[in-house]
Structures are given as C-alpha cells and as structure tokens.
C-alpha cells in the first residue's frame, strides 16, 4: 500500500515538486500499478540468480590514454546560466 507520505518521500528523492492534485493522482496510480505487480510476489524466486545483464559480458576496459577535450565553448554552449567559464547555479543552501 503506497501512502500519500510515500509519494511525497519518493517525489523528494526524485526531485519532483508535486501539486496536491498530482500527489492524489500518483498515490492512486502507484497503488493500481504496484497492486497489479503483486502477482510477482507469488513466484518463488528463492534460488534464482538476478539478471542485471542479458549478455555474459565481462571485463570490458579501455586503455589509459588521454583523448581530445571538448572546446570549452562546446561544453558551455547548452548551459542555461553561466559566469564566464563556469556553470552558474543558485546558492546551495
């Protein structure tokens, strides 16, 4: 059972500001969806290994070489606010 408090907590973790109406809707919908997913709990998966990757890939590495850097203007080109060569953000606290 997902409570309104759960929804508020999860929204905070995901940095989403929800309106009262949205909290209402998401509480209901998450309950619907997760309620449907309860079926999973019926399955006994005690001895089953989780699959995080479908391919048996392992040990993929790159060599320690330095490549081309981006021109700084490219790095900053899309940023919403800048101060000379820095990304600018509102105060932290």
């Amino acid at each position: 059972m997902v409570t309104r408090e759960d929804v508020e907590h999860v929204a905070l973790l995901g940095r989403l500001e929800l309106t009262e109406e949205e909290k209402e809707i998401y509480t209901r919908q998450l309950n619907d969806i997760l309620g449907h997913f309860q079926a999973l709990q019926r399955l006994d998966t005690g001895n089953i290994q989780p699959t995080a990757h479908v391919l048996p890939l392992k040990n993929v590495y790159r060599e320690d070489w330095v490549g081309q850097h981006m021109p700084r203007e490219d790095a900053l080109a899309n940023c919403p606010d800048r101060d000379e060569n820095y990304f600018k953000v509102p105060k932290i606290v």
Binding site: Y61, D64, N85, F87, K91
Partner: protein
C-alpha cells in the same frame, strides 16, 4: 564522572594518478582552466556511456595489496543516486556490495606499541566536480561549477572502527599516505585534494562493548586538522554526555579558523542512495594471475624496509623509521649507501643537514639538486682528508644551491684541506705571537685557551687547515716553549 573510550573510523579518498579519467579519456591533470578537461562523458551529456579505465582497476588492486587486502574474484560498479550540482549525472558510479577489495589491515606504531588497524573495504569510484563560492557556501549569492575534476578516479579506503584516539587516527593517516605513495598510484597531496579524509567518531564508557552514537566529520584537509577536529569532538561529546545529554547522529564540518566542528546545515533531505548495479557497465572477473603480477611488481613497503634498515645497516629504529617514511627518502638513502657504505654517516647527513636545508627552503626531495652520488662523494672527500668536516658543511650548502659536484666546488673555491706541516706551523707561530695572553693562559693550565687558539688558526686559513694537525702542532709548540 564516567571515563570514556574514543572509537574512530576513517574513510579516506585517494585520487589515482592515471593519465585519463576513470570512465572517459579526458585528462586527470590537476588545475587547468575551468571546464577545459571535459568531454561529453564526464559532463554527463544525454546519451553518453562510461567505459572503465583498466589502469584504475590495476591501481586499486595495487593499493589494496599494499594494505594486505583480499582482492575480490567478482566485482562490479553500482550507481549511488543523490543530487548535487557538482555531480554531472546526479549519480556517482561507485561500488556497493561487491567492492574490488577488503579484509586488509595496516600496522601503526603508537607509543612504541604496534596496533593493527583493519581495512574493511577498498572500492573504486569517480570524483565530483568542484563548486566555487563567493565567500562561504552559506553566504554566497550563487555558486559556480567546474567539472574538470569530475570523473577523476578515486579509491575509498574504509578503516574498521579500530582507532582509539585522535593521535592514532593521525598516525594511521600518515602511515596510509606513506604506503600509498610507495605503491606509486597517487601523489597523496592533501593540499591539492588528492588525499581526503572523513572521520566517524563516537565515545563509549570504558569497558562497554556497544558503540556510542557517532558523528561524521568532514573537511579534514590536513593531518593537523584531522587531529584537532577529532580532539575537539572527543571533548564535545564527553561534555554532552557528562551533562546528561545525547549525541545526535549527524554530519559535522571542521571549521579550521574557529577550531570547532559544526553541524552541516542540511535540510534533512532523507538520504537514500538507491544503489543498484550500473547497467551501462559489465562485471569484472579479476584474474588471479593479474593480481599476482601486480603483487610481484609492488616495491618493498615501509614496514619491511624499516626492518631491513635495522637488520642490514644496523640503524637505530628512529633513523630507519624516518628514512623509510617516504619512498623517495629511502631510495635516496640506499642509492647513497651503495656508493658510500657507511649507513650511519649517510643517515646522519640526511636527517641533519639535508633535511634542515629542505625544510628551510620548502623543497621536496624530488626537486632537490643534490643527487645521492654527490652526497656519497662529499663523504668520501672527508674520509680522504681532502676537506674537513667544517668545510664539508659549506660545500654541502653550495651543492644544495647549485647542484654542482662537491669535488668541483672544492677545486673552484680552493677548499682543499691544508695538511702541509710547515705551512700550518707558520700560521701557528704567527697566531701564538699575536696572542701571548692566550698562550700564557694555556701554559698556566687553562685548557680552554687552546680552543681559542685553534679557532684563530682556522680563521686565518679560512677553515682549510687540517684541524687535527692544528691541534697537534699548537700543543707541540706551546709545550715546547714552556720548556
């Protein structure tokens, strides 16, 4: 009043000095104009993917082996999710339940007692960018972000809760730095942030098994700060408990200027890192042969080296400890001893004159102009009687300043010792003639007068006269005339 025992655990972050970052090919070089050491990957642009730098894994294993850790057969990267503007993806690629290494230890010497401190785990992760504030983080109207450091490889080394005093914590940290530097995987420059430390500290009544509530102290940017912050925190926590209060589990920051720890003003945003395996990266199956190759390539580590200096060179423990405190110092020492096999003499010069000049000039040994072979030949010149000990000190200072060979300096400045009996006798006679009172004093039994006369002879010869010969000739002459 209850007696309390202090319990400290340290989380140390070490930046690895690979050429490129952990997940992309941007440089790890320190400094650089803001936001120039970046690429789409370390800026976290939409669509980019990480690829692990193999040398990072190798360096992590290297550091772990030096700390007596066991290397995992299977390891993986996880995402640690939290929001902060210095973190390009708002998750940090780190390692959670299957770190590359753990179950290690290091031994520290405190008050001539060896204490074994556990290394719980060592894992790899990426560094964040840097925030620049106008003034302090609390007063700045806005902040600026530089992502040059984002993605620089780190290992985090977590100790067990085994440290029992701020002094032990400091010694542990110094020892850890020494060992890591020996392995060559990091510069461990605290001032550049390539060695950083957070501390967990709690106190408990002596005899209690159960840990007290801990606080986490951040911003410990020097050995001194570590020691002072922990000492302050011990006092603060003791004070709170003695007044019947409760320790609040919180993160505190060390205020260097005020000499206090302060709670970090975080608006209680529930911390839930939601670790999960990074789907963009694949598992690492660590080949035991690779680990053995790395083990074989490790240099002799400080403890073993110190022991050997005591056994092989017959050095006192104190000397051996200092000479092995950095790999550079120990390498210098050994290289010098191989050319001049009198370890105690070399040790004395290194711990005396060399270290004095380095400290006075604020020079690192690696930047020192004197090479080991040059110190050896200086000592040789003394042994051969070509220069006196006093002249040697002058020559050494000149070597330190110019990097010239001692033999050349001696030649250029005409500092060769005068051992010609007749030449010295002439000076002796002259000095005695000019100082009849001192001569009379000596003859009257005042031994101290001799020293003055020797000094006068040395002054006249600008220190070049063979001191033993001066002594001998003066005495001869004085006694002769007495007869």
């Amino acid at each position: 009043m209850t007696n309390y025992e202090t319990v400290i655990g340290l989380e140390v972050h070490v930046e690895l000095k690979t050429r490129s970052k952990i997940f992309c090919d941007s440089t790890t070089e320190f400094g650089g104009e803001p936001n120039t050491h970046v690429c789409p990957v370390c800026l976290g642009l939409p669509g980019v993917l990480p690829v692990v730098n193999k040398t990072v894994v190798e360096y992590a294993i290297r550091a772990a082996l030096a700390l007596n850790c066991q290397i995992a057969g299977f390891s993986k990267f996880d995402r640690k999710n939290y929001y902060y503007p210095d973190m390009p993806k708002n998750y940090q690629i780190s390692q959670y339940d299957l770190p590359i290494a753990g179950h290690g230890y290091l031994d520290i010497d405190v008050n001539n007692e060896v204490r074994r401190i556990g290394i719980t785990r060592l894992h790899m992760e990426e560094d964040t960018g840097k925030l620049v504030h106008q003034g302090t983080i609390t007063t700045t109207p806005y902040s600026l972000v530089d992502y040059n450091r984002a993605g620089v490889p780190l290992v985090e080394i977590v100790s067990g809760p085994d440290l029992r005093s701020p002094e032990e914590a400091r010694v542990y940290m110094e020892k850890l730095k020494t060992i890591i530097q020996y392995t060559g995987v990091s510069d461990c420059k605290m001032e550049e942030g390539s060695l950083r430390c957070d501390a967990n500290i709690s106190i408990r009544p002596v005899g209690n098994e159960q840990f007290g509530t801990k606080t986490e102290i951040k911003n410990l940017n020097s050995f001194k700060a570590l020691y002072r912050a922990l000492s302050y925190e011990v006092e603060r926590q003791t004070g709170v408990l003695n007044k019947g209060g409760r320790i609040v589990q919180e993160t505190r920051t060390w205020d260097e200027r005020e000499g206090v720890t302060l709670p970090l003003r975080s608006k209680e945003y529930a911390h839930d890192y939601r670790y999960f395996p990074d789907p963009d990266l694949v598992p690492m199956i660590i080949d035991p042969e690779w680990v053995e190759d790395i083990r074989r390539s490790l240099p002799e580590l400080p403890d073993a080296r110190r022991e050997r200096y005591m056994q092989e060179y017959g050095l006192p423990g104190y000397d051996a400890g200092i000479l092995t405190s950095t790999k550079e110092l120990a390498d210098f020492f050994e290289s010098c001893v191989s050319a001049y096999p009198n370890p105690k003499a070399v040790s004395n010069w290194m711990m005396g004159d060399l270290s004095r000049l380095l400290n006075a000039g604020g020079v690192e040994l690696t930047a020192c102009k004197i090479k080991p072979a040059q110190l050896a030949s200086l000592l040789q010149l003394m042994d051969e009687g070509i220069i006196s000990g006093r002249i040697a000190k002058t020559v050494f200072e000149e070597m330190f300043a110019s990097g010239k060979d001692p033999g050349d300096i001696v030649k250029e400045k005409g500092l060769v010792q005068i051992s010609d009996k007749s030449a010295i006798m002439a000076v002796v006679e002259d000095v005695l003639a000019k100082n009849p009172k001192s001569a009379a004093d000596f003859r009257a039994g005042k031994e101290r007068a001799l020293g003055f006369l020797v000094g006068q002879v040395m002054k006249t010869t600008r220190g070049k006269a063979n001191p033993e010969l001066v002594d001998k000739l003066l005495k001869e002459k004085l006694l002769q005339e007495k007869l």
